[in-house]
Subunit: 314 residues, 2 copies
Amino acid sequence: MIVSLAGGVGAARFLTGLVRVVPEEELVIIVNTGDDIELHGLHISPDIDIILYTLAGIVDEEKGWGVRGDTFNCLKFLAKLGCETWFKLGDMDLATHIFRTNLLKRGFKLSEVVDDIRRRFGLKVKVLPMSDQRVETRIVTDIGELHFQEYLVKRGASDRVLGVKFAGIEEAEPTPGLIESILEAEAVVVCPSNPIVSIGPILSVKGVREALLRSEAKKIAISPIVAGRPIKGPADKLMQGLGLEVSAYSVAKLYSDFLDVFIIDQADIDEKDRIERLGIKVISTNTIMRDLKDKVNLAKVVIEQVRGSRNQIL
Amino acid sequence: MIVSLAGGVGAARFLTGLVRVVPEEELVIIVNTGDDIELHGLHISPDIDIILYTLAGIVDEEKGWGVRGDTFNCLKFLAKLGCETWFKLGDMDLATHIFRTNLLKRGFKLSEVVDDIRRRFGLKVKVLPMSDQRVETRIVTDIGELHFQEYLVKRGASDRVLGVKFAGIEEAEPTPGLIESILEAEAVVVCPSNPIVSIGPILSVKGVREALLRSEAKKIAISPIVAGRPIKGPADKLMQGLGLEVSAYSVAKLYSDFLDVFIIDQADIDEKDRIERLGIKVISTNTIMRDLKDKVNLAKVVIEQVRGSRNQIL
């Protein structure tokens, strides 16, 4: 069993490759829910939906989120009703939010709802929200504290970052089976996601980091930073805000307590020595996933590392 | 002030004419909520929305309900998720349901929400749901008890009607201002709506019938039955199921305790004597509203009766 820790778009791209290299039934994807937000009374789980839509083959690939070919008529009407509509919710996408909100209201846990939607999409991969309790990633900025989505989507990541908080993280229990999956995994793959606001919350859920340290799984991460810049998203601004260097090395350092292998882009080959001095094996390859071939290749590089480990163990 | 008791499509057509004859500010529309239903966790108020969409000029006139030019992409996606989608919810229409559900969840009363939506649509007419408490019209049929929408929309009014219940009606309080509006009205107009399931629930809310009897307003009704058949909807099946004759006379009889004037279609001129023997004045005119001119003409016939009354009082 291979466990992945995932955020949104970057993770989804990588996982599209991974499901073509490893049978879906052998995959567990642990997904960040710190980005979740309630809008118009609906529970939105952006990272989970990106993963599900992508694996179901219905994601809007150009945007990286939402459903391909979606319309925005409901949102336009919500605007007429005077609602804030900075968070773009398509009509088809809204069906997921309505469906999820309805099940949550009826007392189901988020993990149960996600598992239900996953099956309705015909997916065999196991998708686990990091917690059934609400955790809210809040960005402390020079204009005050903002929900991550307000910081990113509403205000275009334009505010100076002073800190990051995961509200509710102390009370958040890992979803049932999450810790066990890490402990029993053959490998844990940290997807090329934002280390601060995508992987950060997952690693902060109680017991997760300890499980990674205890687990005999091979722990492999793919750098979301290439040549000093994130492929997508505000990782650079968040890292800078926290006083971190924006580099593959800096990401490796965040994971260095548990990480065995770090996969960096060829563009960052000069980071190799520095990262290896953290006690982490470094593999350099093309990590920029422009098409399915890139995604499958990157997945193969990861799986090679797992199989290598297996051979050593056997 | 003119108070109308209203159901859905028939009422909305008549009111389109009325707002062109009487200033909006002088109108109060009391709307049936017995048809309300929760679907996908959203609170749907079909009659209220038909009235609001129609008066706002955005209704799908061909259907009589929903928003003109609406799409159904959310519903199609809900179907993919395995949801029942017999109740047709358009994407724009859904915005209203999402908006209303969110405000109800936040503790606002239905009447407050309706007033808010009404204002957001730029309407000056006052729209009062009959009650802020849930009343559910249930049709007792040969296959069991059904929510009215299940009976009508899901099963196409195909089941034999044995009875009609308004679940929750004993506990339902009239919305604030409703009784006062009837008592202070110059006229109360019962729209050409289903007497059993549209006007019936309103008349059953505690205090409403008594207010109609006490009020000095001229009470005028327009027959929804023309030549022994309803213009639209299942009024015939419901009336038959309750052992009632399907006729204008039969409707007049249901309102005879409070009614002053009954407006029937020219086609029902032979009903006139029978209805007048109930102590009700009868006016016959064209009641079939094919276009705006028909609607305005019918409204004028009604208002003539009110002005007549005024002149007599003065």
